[in-house]
Symmetry: C2
Subunit: 126 residues, 2 copies
C-alpha cells in the first residue's frame, strides 16, 4: 500500500462520556509520542470528549504543513462520510494541508492482525 | 499472550442503521469462514443490525460446546461492561460455555499493527 509521509498525524477517536473508554486510545497515542515525539502526533475526539479536532488543528506548531487525520474506527459511517470531511474542509488553510485517511481498522496491516487474532482463538497458528 | 482454543468464535460488532458501515465487519467474517469454515465462526451485532448475539447463540450447531465472543471494538465501554456480560450470562447453558474476550483492538497483535500504521504515515518503517 502506498503511504504518504506527513509532518503530523492526528489520531481521531469517537469520544464517550465513559472515562475508562478512552484509555486504549490514550495508550496508542502515548506509544506514538514516545516513539516519534509530541510534535509528530496528537489525539482528538469527534464528540463528548476533549480536545476536539478543531482545537488540535488550531494549536498545531507553525512548522507543521502536512497533516493526516487517522480515524480510530473500524468502519466508515455517517460521521466519517459527512461530519468529519466538512470539519476538515473548514480547517484547511493556504499554509496547512489536511488529509482524512481511511479508518485504521481498514488498513491491511490491521486487517491481517485481526485475522490472526481470530485464528489464534480457534487454535490455529496462522 | 495465552490463548484458549474455542470450538466457535462469535464476532460481535456494534451495529448501525448505516448499510455501508457493516461492510468491514462482514469482510472480516467472510475471511474467517473462508479459512476455517462456517461452523467455526459467526457475526452478530449488539443493536440496530441483525442477527443479534442471542439469535446466533440459539442457532449454534449442537456440537459446539465452547464459544468465544470477540468484540469488534477498540475499547470497553458501557455495552461491554454491563449489557453484553448480562446477555451472555442469560445465554449460558449446562452444555454451552460462553466466554467474553477483550475487545479485538486491545489484543497485542492489533495494537502493534496500529502502531505500525501510525509509523508508516509518519514515514517511519518500524
Amino acid at each position: 500500500m502506498l503511504r504518504k509521509e506527513y509532518d503530523h498525524i492526528i489520531l481521531l477517536a469517537h469520544g464517550s462520556p465513559d472515562p475508562t473508554w478512552k484509555k486504549p486510545f490514550e495508550s496508542l497515542y502515548d506509544r506514538a509520542i514516545s516513539r516519534f515525539g509530541a510534535e509528530r502526533s496528537s489525539l482528538a475526539y469527534m464528540e463528548l470528549t476533549e480536545p476536539s479536532l478543531e482545537y488540535v488543528v488550531q494549536h498545531l506548531d507553525k512548522h507543521v504543513k502536512k497533516v493526516a487525520v487517522l480515524p480510530l474506527f473500524f468502519a466508515v459511517g455517517r460521521h466519517l462520510r459527512h461530519d468529519v470531511p466538512a470539519q476538515i474542509e473548514s480547517l484547511k488553510r493556504d499554509d496547512l494541508e489536511i488529509e482524512l485517511l481511511s479508518p485504521i481498522g481498514e488498513d491491511d496491516i490491521v486487517k491481517q492482525a485481526m485475522d490472526q487474532v481470530i485464528a489464534h482463538h480457534l487454535g490455529q497458528n496462522n
